[in-house]
Subunit: 248 residues, 2 copies
Amino acid sequence: MTLYLIGVGLSDEKDITVKGLEAVKRCDVVYLEHYTSLLQCSKEDLETFYGKSITLANREQIENKSQNILDQAKEQNVAILIVGDPLSATTHINYILEAKKQNIPINIINNASVLTAVGITGLQLYKFGRITSVPFAESETPYTVIKENKQAKMHTLALLDLHPEKGEFLTIKDACVKILAIETIKKEGIFTADTEIIACARLGSDNPTIKTGNVKDIMKQSFDHAPYCIVIPGELHFMEEEVMKIWA
Amino acid sequence: MTLYLIGVGLSDEKDITVKGLEAVKRCDVVYLEHYTSLLQCSKEDLETFYGKSITLANREQIENKSQNILDQAKEQNVAILIVGDPLSATTHINYILEAKKQNIPINIINNASVLTAVGITGLQLYKFGRITSVPFAESETPYTVIKENKQAKMHTLALLDLHPEKGEFLTIKDACVKILAIETIKKEGIFTADTEIIACARLGSDNPTIKTGNVKDIMKQSFDHAPYCIVIPGELHFMEEEVMKIWA
């Protein structure tokens, strides 16, 4: 039978593609990977719209016990639903490798990802450098990536950490505090209270919150529900500056 | 009324999202932007499946005469269908800006993009640096971008130029010839006959062609229909190397 990795997009039950929906309907077992990102609808909304019962799968099941899912796919049609695009998170590549090795037909159904939905900010995607994430744990990585990208005049997309299964979401304010703390040590002027950034919530949904301003002001704003990200612009083209003004 | 920018995905009429399809059905006028990329189905396939008549729109209509489309959207529901994600190409950002200025409701419906579909190669998306494209015209830009990304140990995605409306597609072989020609002048060892690359056709479709090998060997291979891209790896993680072997 076949293993389907199906992107369900960024917001709700209708963001699945027609091809993806047809594949879900062919499946005997449907998992929803719900630890790398977050939809704006419930599992029940998906179940009602897809007409299928869905099993929530945590990191343990998807990563450490992937062989269980692969074994199921030898006998039945199995879908793993993934928020956004199925291959944007690094954790799912392993299924391609193992499916090929074990001769299990695998079918990837792509969908929207925050990596391109960030285009709504007005910043040009080909001017983004390396992507980073801001973890709950202490880390200098976001600071280093922002610095390297700025030196190359490129924009940085920083995704904020989340544990949806525990209801924990690193807020935009907390992420700023974390990066400012590194600035306090490094003192390289990469990310200060005066740095102009774009802060976003729920990109790819019908009601994203997108705000531009300096870090100090952004930290005072509210952004409603997760997921969150921050964009730190590199060198701005005048057209990018003009579009950014929409979100001021 | 509303202006809809709707991504139709990368391959055929069923790659539109359910939300996108519902929006198309609400529209009085439907344009298909068909000069920045290429689907694997015909306009007629889209029309039959969507149940709508579609007008092909060229660069002139979408970019220079955008006010005509904006004016239409003041009176009617208007959709611009865009291959891939509506905001991955820089040319469509202007509609967000103008719609906001002119107080026209605008609705963006995201979809898959080659920028994330390239994840199927096994290379991790967060390790990609700046994206580049290889134009029909002479240009040192791809070489420079590959060099800068390699220095930062990052992968490069190079999209190959195309003029779908004229049936012209820069082939993988021709793109390699162009970059090798720059290498001959610069002699920096960035892209030689021995450089290992991944060459891809029709990413995001049901039958992509993906091949790894050195440039000399890749240039001898056939890749069937466009669109094409080349990935020049930076530093490879062992997991990336393992997945890459699938495509050897």
